[in-house]
């Protein structure tokens, strides 16, 4: 039974987790850095614990500091949110040693999916198709791999995730430079310089499946399409993934469940696939063993609170549903409102929010820590909030998105609002089922709609 939950994250996700925990009658402790002492989660939490100074390496990413703060706060569980320590096995280990429940998967799942090469082989064991490729420990090996996979190819960090450390190589002449870059980025971001090489599928869609497992059984909560990305960072997500033939969609969903059951997965997770936009063949990419930024679109079409499920499963309870009881209804879209000046090369725009205005009404959900006056400190990522819209079908959700977006106003910050308005009006997006090339050249086109 979780009575005191320590939230080891910040921003919108910390508020999101807090809301469910408080609704369930759990006492919440916000673990905050010095820069976030007056953030919304600190205002809303039952208790506030200071983890450390503003830089995340000394606070949200510091295993010892977070574990010590959670212990001092007499927390019986820690929710890591996404990013930061959410997929960090040594953090889960440190909590276990302190007798605190980690709201996340088992150490075995963290280890199996945290190493992307191991994840590939585990997925193959479970019978999932993977993109051709493999480890490239040295430049020499990378060249050999590249000769097999062919160009264009992707270099990825073995320990990576969230698109960081990923490099696309179109031309053999760029290979060595990109390997060096990828290795140094991987080392800086993940403390592990190992990389691997994968064939780049040009007309690929990024489709993922939300899974829930209790260690014995797993089920899926439908698909999400996150093909609209800039430099491998997702901008817009929707559920379900549109325009995939029913039999292929079903195959994708069951592949994800197969992997989760093969792992004996416990918790909420996301199995990411690359789907060929023409043939709808799909390949396993990776599994994220945590809550995703885009989880609200799944909540919208299932009516299931994923944070609540995470907490229940972390308490050791079995899943409360069978697959046939999960009903996917309607269509949902999410846009990530980033504090960035998208017209100036997406330059970060930290600072004070003097006032905030967000849309309201049926089918509208706003997940943000900046629903009123606040601050975007310069130390962390630029996510200022998420607008989630829901409609009976995709057209209804899209119409709601288009009318809701102009209402957003964060006075004092540059945001990606108008970029999203352009995306929402783009005929390719309106038609649905775009591939990951959508954003290439997007900014150079004249604005439509």
């Amino acid at each position: 039974m979780i009575r005191r939950l320590f939230i080891a994250n910040r921003g919108e996700i910390a508020v999101r987790v807090l809301r469910t925990a408080q609704r369930l009658g759990i006492t919440t402790i916000a673990g905050v850095s010095a820069a976030d002492r007056h953030s919304l989660v600190a205002k809303l939490a039952d208790e506030v614990a200071l983890i450390g100074p503003a830089p995340s390496s000394e606070s949200y990413l510091n295993v010892a500091a977070v574990t010590a703060a959670a212990t001092a706060a007499r927390a019986d569980a820690v929710h890591p949110g996404y990013g930061f320590l959410s997929e960090n096995a040594s953090f889960a280990q440190a909590l276990a040693a302190a007798g605190i429940t980690f709201v996340g998967p088992s150490l075995e799942s963290l280890a199996a999916m945290g190493d992307k090469l191991r994840a590939r082989s585990v997925a193959m064991e479970a019978g999932l198709p993977v993109v051709p490729g493999g480890e490239a420990a040295t430049r020499e090996q990378a060249r050999e791999r590249a000769a097999i996979t062919g160009y264009p190819l992707l270099i990825k960090a073995v320990a990576g995730g969230g698109g960081r450390g990923m490099k696309r190589v179109d031309d053999p002449a760029q290979l060595e430079t990109q390997i060096d870059l990828a290795m140094s980025e991987a080392l800086a971001a993940f403390g592990d310089s190992r990389i691997y090489v994968e064939r780049f599928i040009a007309r690929g869609r990024h489709v993922e499946v939300q899974v829930l497992g209790d260690g014995q059984r797993a089920l899926h909560l439908g698909s999400r399409d996150c093909s609209i990305q800039r430099r491998f960072q997702k901008l817009v997500e929707e559920a379900p993934a549109p325009g995939i033939p029913a039999d292929r969609h079903e195959a994708l969903l069951s592949a994800a469940v197969r992997l989760a059951e093969h792992l004996g997965y416990r918790g909420a997770g996301t199995v990411e696939f690359l789907v060929d936009a023409e043939t709808f063949d799909f390949f396993f990419l990776e599994m994220n063993v945590r809550l995703q930024v885009e989880h609200p679109v799944t909540e919208a079409i299932t009516g299931i609170d994923l944070v609540e499920q995470q907490l229940l499963v972390a308490e050791g309870l079995p899943l409360g549903w069978r697959q046939d009881q999960i009903v996917l209804r309607g269509h949902a879209m999410e846009v990530r409102l980033n504090a960035e000046d998208w017209q100036q090369g997406f330059r970060p725009s930290p600072g004070q929010v003097k006032s905030a205005r967000w849309p309201a009404g049926p089918g509208v959900r706003v997940d943000s820590h900046l629903t009123g006056p606040g601050e975007v400190p310069p130390y962390y990522d630029s996510l200022a909030g998420k607008l989630i819209v829901y409609g009976a079908d995709r057209a209804a959700a899209l119409a709601r998105l288009a009318t809701a977006l102009p209402t957003i106003e964060l006075e004092g910050l540059a945001t990606t609002r108008d970029l999203h308005r352009r995306i929402a009006a783009d005929p390719r997006f309106v038609a649905g089922g775009v591939d990951t090339r959508f954003f290439d050249g997007f900014l150079e086109q004249p604005a439509r709609g």
């Binding site: 205002k43 205005r357 006056p373």
Partner: protein, 163 residues
Amino acid sequence: MADERVWLTAEDVAEIVTILEGSPFNQLDLRTTRFRLRVAREQAGEATGEWSQAWDWAEGAALPGAAASTTAVAAAVTEDTSDGLVRVAAALPGTFYRAPQPGAPAFVEPGDTVTAETVVGIVETMKLMNPVYAGVAGTVDSIPAANAVMVAAGTALVRIRQA
């Protein structure tokens, strides 16, 4: 305590919008000791006609110096009227008072300058004194409601010429 906290979910906000949509009001301004929520129909710019939400949160009980009370109080609804004046209306039925106590000077008189935060009166409902905020900056035009009389929800209390 966690279980005493009342959350307004996205569904609650949607319901507020639906209620407002079927009413003559264009704005709801709800204050508790924990937060202030303004739901409004946009009157200008590209978003005209769309509903918006804006929140202000008080420093929490978990931080030093903050109030721990969770009692919900107050609410004032303002509406634009055809003559360019903003009508500050009673959000709840109750007794309207123009002054903090008998014999004290009134909160505002016609001609006074007010900000959105200015208290223009009190509506006593179920033994709770709910301050009525102007909601907009401007000048008090008139005070149509009489002192110490029972008013219905929606009754115009004060008219303000917006700055």
